[in-house]
């Protein structure tokens, strides 16, 4: 695919701002849910794997960390860009 086709659909500014407000509403879900799921995996490993000494749960520990780190890697620039947009709006 050429670079032009990778561009986003152009929208009028008013609609774009409305959409961004919707996006901001979703932000807590997009950012926090993966963290919660990651922590659940780690806690599950701790309670059912680490304490009784069951190695079958080790993959849950790694999965938990992958989800948390993977999300953190993209959440930081995403939140920065949202903050940048909010500053522009002011």
């Amino acid at each position: 695919m050429d670079k032009k086709s990778m561009q986003y659909i152009e929208k009028n500014t008013d609609n774009q701002i409305r959409l961004l407000k919707t996006e901001m509403l979703f932000t807590p879900l997009l950012v926090f849910l993966p963290f919660i799921v990651g922590v659940i995996f780690i806690l599950d490993w701790f309670n059912r794997g680490f304490i009784p000494g069951d190695p079958r749960f080790n993959s849950e520990l790694i999965l938990g960390f992958i989800i948390i780190i993977g999300n953190l890697f993209f959440d930081i620039p995403f939140i920065k860009s949202l903050k940048k947009f909010s500053q522009h709006k002011k």
Binding site: P34, D44, F78
Partner: protein
């Protein structure tokens, strides 16, 4: 008097920031998909299994109806944030993403489904960033070991030969699925389904040859 030049500059700046934002929004939407792995930790009891069977297809049906209405022009594409130009007259990539995850949940063993979902949710945005900032060649150099890592985690309880075979085949499928882009078939679908189908073939071959197959990556919870 209104300063037109200043206003134009301000509008341009704002539009640029909006594009930048849509870019990161798409990336975060991808990584958010890893949360769906929670499906596997849900307890293995009758009423939960019933919900596990019905809720994901119902969500997908809703999304498909929404997309159908968008393509028919009943709902404007303006209401969908972060759509690419090529998605204006084509099924959006989020539908492909959802269809592939549902197929993995329903028809593939967990050690195949989990790493394939991770490839789409974590490796795909990493591929995208590498492609944007560096040469496409680095996609293979960084993406392949990253995908291999995901497959090794899921298959580490299997025989060593089988684990490495699965990691190489799975990672090759994921990288090829992501890099070979087709207008009508999204890479979000291919990055999941190509390695999954290849590994399913390997799964049956390994079963036939008597190899030790991997156990579940995520063990269902108990109530």
């Amino acid at each position: 008097m209104v300063n037109v030049k200043k206003k134009l500059l301000y509008a341009k700046k704002r539009i640029n920031s909006v594009e930048f934002d849509a870019h990161w929004y798409r990336r975060v939407f991808h990584t958010f998909g890893a949360s769906f792995l929670f499906y596997y930790i849900l307890p293995d009891v009758d009423w939960v299994n019933l919900l596990k069977t019905w809720i994901p297809p119902l969500i997908l049906v809703f999304v498909v109806i929404l997309e159908f209405l968008r393509l028919k022009g009943k709902i404007s594409s303006d209401h969908f944030f972060g759509l690419r130009m090529y998605e204006k007259h084509r099924v959006g990539s989020y539908v492909f993403f959802g269809v592939a995850i549902l197929l993995l949940f329903m028809f593939f063993p967990q050690p195949i489904a989990v790493p394939c979902i991770l490839c789409a949710c974590i490796a795909d945005p990493v591929f995208g960033e590498i492609r944007q900032h560096y040469n496409s060649r680095y996609v293979y150099l960084v993406g392949f070991p990253l995908c291999m890592f995901f497959f090794i985690i899921a298959w580490y309880t299997a025989d060593v030969v089988l684990m490495f075979s699965a990691a190489v085949i799975g990672a090759t499928g994921a990288v090829v699925g992501e890099t070979k882009k087709l207008w009508w078939l999204d890479d979000d679908f291919m990055i999941q389904m190509l390695p999954a189908v290849l590994l399913l073939i390997l799964w049956y071959i390994a079963m036939y040859m008597g190899f030790t197959l991997p156990g579940d990556v995520i063990i269902p919870g108990v109530i």
